[in-house]
């Protein structure tokens, strides 16, 4: 049955990518952006994992009466083992919990069935045979309910529905987070809520791990937190040092703007660099020395967009001075600038 599960996974992914999950909390989409910029294969796998389980569970366990169905038509599990595996994926959003889960799942159908509200079963077209009909059906009704809730929530990290509904206000866009009590654990709403909270925290910590360099190999919340703290402190110190550096460069606080302006509004572009530049690029020889304190005019962004140079590419590629400044960080060459250095690297 294993290959069957794997085969269904890519299918789900394609289905998921169309229906974008509403972002879980703040940084999800932008972390996507950030991580895709950085070497982020690890990130994509994690986020894929997060997105994957509920829809996969949804899909593996079929239900036809839902009008809204973003997924392609599912493949029916014809075996209780497959259902168990699928339900395993659905319950756990973080990998740490999965070992815990495997013991539970085999008993899950029998354990919590009495607690689960039995929905009236519609006519099932999927070939569920062999396994005890009752447990199978009630398991299916679990999944159905779960899927129902998911469709309503239209959201990602949902868990299974239980009769003693620990519906907490997650504080995000979801009104409910339905949590299943695992075997051998307390079923009161407090611990369920706590567990949901903990799992949320763990998921976020994973995201953080990928953002902070060098955290991928560390396991354990304490170590990861340590790294995060170090990283934040280092970044803050860097800001301090850099602002000190900038303050030391020039007596005037907006020095660079004037220099830039001088470069722009100014006149002749030196012959010291190849003439095939995009016009917004200034050369060092042009600005060095003479222009420092001479220009007092107020500096406007709009003014800079008027090209006074020879050639101009189309305006979409227009590199404003500040961005060319940002791309100019090669300390090597002082006299002549090469266009490759001054490409907009932002």
């Amino acid at each position: 049955m294993e290959p069957k599960v794997e085969a269904t996974q890519p299918q789900f992914r394609s289905g998921i990518s169309g229906a974008n999950p509403v972002e879980m909390g703040l940084g999800f989409d932008e972390i996507h952006g950030l991580i895709s910029a950085a070497p982020g294969t690890g990130g994509s796998s994690f986020t894929a994992l997060l997105e994957l389980p509920p829809p996969q569970a949804v899909e593996l366990l079929v239900k036809e009466d839902f009008p809204v169905k973003p997924m392609p038509p599912p493949i029916f599990p014809s075996n209780i083992a497959l259902i168990d595996r699928a339900s395993k994926f659905s319950v756990f959003a973080s990998a740490d919990n999965s070992p815990e889960s495997t013991n539970i799942l085999s008993a899950s159908s029998s354990m919590k069935l009495d607690l689960v509200k039995q929905e009236p079963l519609e006519s099932d077209s999927h070939p569920n045979s062999s396994s005890p009909a009752v447990s199978n059906q009630s398991l299916k009704s679990n999944k159905r309910k779960e899927r129902e809730k998911k469709v309503k929530e239209s959201n990602k990290k949902s868990k299974k529905v239980v009769a003693n509904e620990a519906s907490e206000d997650s504080g995000e866009k979801l009104p409910y987070v339905h949590v299943r009590a695992r075997r051998g654990q307390a079923t009161d709403s407090h611990s369920l809520a706590e567990r949901a909270r903990r799992e949320k925290i763990n998921a976020r910590m994973k995201l953080l791990q990928e953002l902070v360099p060098g955290c991928n190999k560390i396991s354990g919340t304490a170590m990861v937190l340590d790294e995060i703290i170090n990283h934040v402190q280092a970044l803050q110190r860097q800001v301090e040092f850099l602002s000190m550096r900038l303050a030391a460069v020039n007596p005037r606080i907006d020095f660079n703007l004037d220099a830039l302006l001088a470069g722009e509004g100014g006149s002749s572009i030196d012959n010291s660099y190849p003439g095939t530049f995009a016009p917004s690029i200034w050369s060092e020889g042009q600005i060095n020395g003479s222009r420092q304190h001479q220009y007092q005019q107020p500096w406007h962004f709009e003014g800079l967009h008027q090209p006074s140079w020879g050639r101009e590419e189309d305006t979409s590629n227009f590199i404003t001075p500040e961005t060319s400044l940002l791309s100019y960080d090669s300390p090597a060459n002082s006299a002549s600038l090469h266009s490759s250095h001054l490409k907009m690297e932002l």
């Binding site: 972002e23 909390g25 976020r204 953002l211 005037r252 500040e322």
Partner: protein, 195 residues
């Protein structure tokens, strides 16, 4: 929350740079001659306000940062900077809520400690490692709260979310500042006499 494109960091950098320079201009118009330390403070403050405003007050830390700056009565220029850059008035950020949160946190903490004592009394040394780990995590969370602006009033989930965003923004800030510093130093080597 706006959808972030792949080159969102580039957009953020540009936005940050614009706002930062705007703040610097305000400062330079405000006060002609500044010592190096004043300059440094002004630069840093403008940068912080600029990076916070790129978030458009959608995150806790940005709101806390802006309100901290603007309610600092010793620094009038700062307030103007904030007002200009953010484009709106920034009032004090939920101080009452903070107070309530800390009060309720204390009560919660007391009750949790009590329950934990009751629970772990007869268990033995096997859970000692767990409790130590918990303490370590708690300590570090406290440190993190002190680092992230406005962190005192956040719970665990929120804190991590905010830290994520804060780290990303700090990176943008550092990147832009570093480039600017490098370029400026190339143009205009710093005078040794100042330092």
């Amino acid at each position: 929350m706006k959808e972030r494109m792949p080159n969102s960091s580039a957009l953020m950098k540009q936005e940050f740079l614009k706002k930062w320079i705007k703040g610097l201009q305000i400062y330079s118009s405000f006060k002609k001659e500044m010592t190096i330390f004043e300059r440094k403070k002004a630069i840093k403050l403008s940068a912080d306000v600029a990076i916070a405003s790129t978030r458009n007050a959608s995150t806790h830390w940005s709101r806390a940062l802006m309100s901290d700056v603007s309610t600092d009565d010793a620094n009038h220029a700062a307030k103007i900077v904030v007002a200009q850059i953010s484009g709106r008035k920034v009032e004090k950020y939920s101080s009452s809520k903070g107070l309530m949160m800390t009060c309720s946190n204390k009560i919660l903490r007391r009750s949790r400690v009590a329950s934990r004592c009751r629970r772990t009394r007869g268990v033995g040394t096997s859970v000692k490692a767990r409790s130590i780990a918990r303490k370590v995590v708690k300590n570090r969370t406290r440190v993190l709260k002190s680092l992230v602006p406005g962190g005192q009033e956040m719970d665990g989930v929120c804190l991590i979310k905010e830290t994520l965003d804060y780290i990303a923004s700090l990176r943008v800030q550092v990147d832009v500042m570093r480039h600017l510093a490098a370029a400026a130093e190339r143009l205009d080597p710093p005078q040794r006499s100042i330092l």
